[in-house]
Symmetry: C2
Subunit: 345 residues, 2 copies
């Protein structure tokens, strides 16, 4: 299935310098897909000239006269920047001109705009941010990563439904397992909301594994990890911080003296292979789930390779029919609830 | 100041095989301190014979006839095992015969027993679990790590007071900085409890830095990091999981073929130096704070070096007068609150 991806070409710390080379790379590797670059035409054309690429049927420009700043208030952006590259890219998804859109811009503004323009899928109360992380066994889908600081049990169940649909769409894995992030594996552990969520998950048609702990995430104990956005955001950022520190320590130790530098030189292929394996750029692209459209948020500081990975993820979600799978799971859950109500009455 | 440390010799996955060699090592390095080994005399004497060490004035045995299992319910332990090695060790602290105690046993049972026997310090509503983690700049004290799944703003403030006292006692750092773990650095971020806690921290005499994010922990942005026990436990265990995975990947890459194995051999001193720097055993020993006595929880799977580190931490807390510093901070906070009430009326 050929897909068309709308790209907020102006978003992120580096704007067109990153988004456009990433788009060109994507088109080379996916020779039947189409990309629409959304933003200030002058800036887009200047970057295309720099990288010696010209407009062709599969690489179009859609003009947008405004740019959303990284620190602007989402509410202000929503009210006053109706012709921003971010909003116009989302509009293309809304109108069916694109199957998905990708932005490295302001997360709050992207979420608010996407929610306002696209609306929520029926049966989903709140959008969630989901991302994949590397594990021993492959990768794990974790959500919510910061869209919702307070969640009830029903929200956590909906996150599980959405994460299951996302894993199915991306990995074509039937019946992926779902873990509920908690501070112990026993049922009695955790706060009231987590206990209630555990109960709902058990009643659902999902492949619920049970409670998992923080150290189970990277073991790849389950395919999906569900938690509230406060916990998920802290866990994700803490691991980013630890990975940076460990990388820094390793570099320092290899740079300590002549001997260690030589050892580092000889170990270069090994260290490169290690780095490739855990390269966070390969996992760039967080999905804003629960909307009537596919929206991917790239890290603001992403380079062209990282942004390229986010475009790939967007295309995979579209090709995998993610929205359809979410709706299917929601319907099944509602049918099961109605069945239960009938049985009880 | 000479200190006496009571050790639950039977606790942990390995019992006396770990606790006693650790105690002997500690006494060698601290020639004026005393250790009381608490547990089944036969088991303790057998281990002492194995490692060719005899009882001397600085190494005493205190008999206890029961052992707490790693999976026993804390309530059951509290009611039925009144002569457990864990409880007798805590009793020694209560009676003033020891300045602190260390156990690698069942965390829930240790917390419940310590709280029951020692009671809470006036002005502290709930005990917290605190631990040090390595950072770019040195180490950071993080709490709560799992004692309290739900916290209110006042609890978080009390954690901050206790963390400040702990850092002062251990590191002799005047006015350590306190960060409130959140999902953004701006004041508007986070849930209601975190926002209220931020307000209280601003009113306190503590050196409040403001909100910090997960990735700031390992940067060493602050000396103390405060969060509720659910978030802290997930963050801690997630980093443990990530560190294990990265270590595993690194080993795998160095073991891939003849060439990578040779590179690994040449890099051995570098990798050892790196490992030493982030060795989790050096950070073993979580403090149960808020009690009228010093209690350290060692990791259940600790080896003798890790358990030795926990004994050292216990002694440092005692020598640093940690309980006194906590009480001082609590008093200052209550004085400030009364002052405010007077001003308001």
């Amino acid at each position: 299935m050929d897909v068309t991806i709308a790209i907020d070409a102006m978003g992120g710390d580096h704007g067109t310098r990153v988004t456009i080379p990433a788009a060109v790379r994507y088109l080379k590797q996916h020779p039947t897909d189409t990309i629409v670059l959304v933003g200030l035409p002058d800036a887009i054309e200047a970057e295309l000239r720099t990288i010696k690429t010209s407009i062709e049927p599969r690489l179009r420009i859609q003009a947008a006269s405004e740019v959303v700043g990284m620190d602007e208030s989402p509410q202000l952006v929503l009210r006053s920047k109706k012709d921003s590259s971010m909003r116009v890219a989302i509009n293309l998804v809304k109108n069916g001109e694109a199957s998905a859109c990708v932005s490295a811009g302001n997360t709050g503004a992207l979420m608010a705009t996407a929610r306002y323009v696209l609306k929520m899928l029926p049966g989903i109360d709140r959008p969630a941010i989901a991302s994949f992380l590397p594990t021993y066994k492959g990768q794990v889908c974790m959500l919510d990563l910061g869209a919702n600081v307070d969640c009830n049990a029903e929200n956590l169940l909906q996150f599980a439904l959405m994460g299951t649909a996302l894993v199915y769409a991306i990995e074509h894995k039937n019946n992926p397992t779902v873990g509920l992030l908690n501070i112990g594996s026993e049922d009695i552990k955790g706060n009231e909301i987590v206990k209630q969520a555990s109960e709902l998950l058990r009643q659902s048609d999902l492949n619920f594994y049970g409670n998992i702990e923080g150290n189970d995430i990277f073991k790849g104990v389950t395919d999906v990890v569900v938690c509230d956005g406060f916990v998920g955001n802290v866990a994700l950022k803490t691991t980013e911080g630890l990975a940076q520190m460990l990388g820094g320590f390793l570099r320092e130790e290899f740079n300590r003296n002549m001997f260690t530098k030589l050892a580092g030189l000889l170990a270069t292929p090994v260290l490169k292979a290690f780095k490739r394996r855990v390269d966070p750029r390969r996992y760039n692209g967080a999905s804003l789930l629960g909307l009537k459209g596919i929206v991917l948020k790239s890290h603001g500081s992403a380079d062209a390779f990282a942004f390229f990975c986010a475009i790939e993820r967007a295309a995979e979600e579209a090709r995998g029919g993610m929205l359809h799978h979410i709706s299917e799971h929601i319907e099944k859950w509602h049918d099961a609830c109605q069945q239960k109500t009938r049985e009880a009455s």
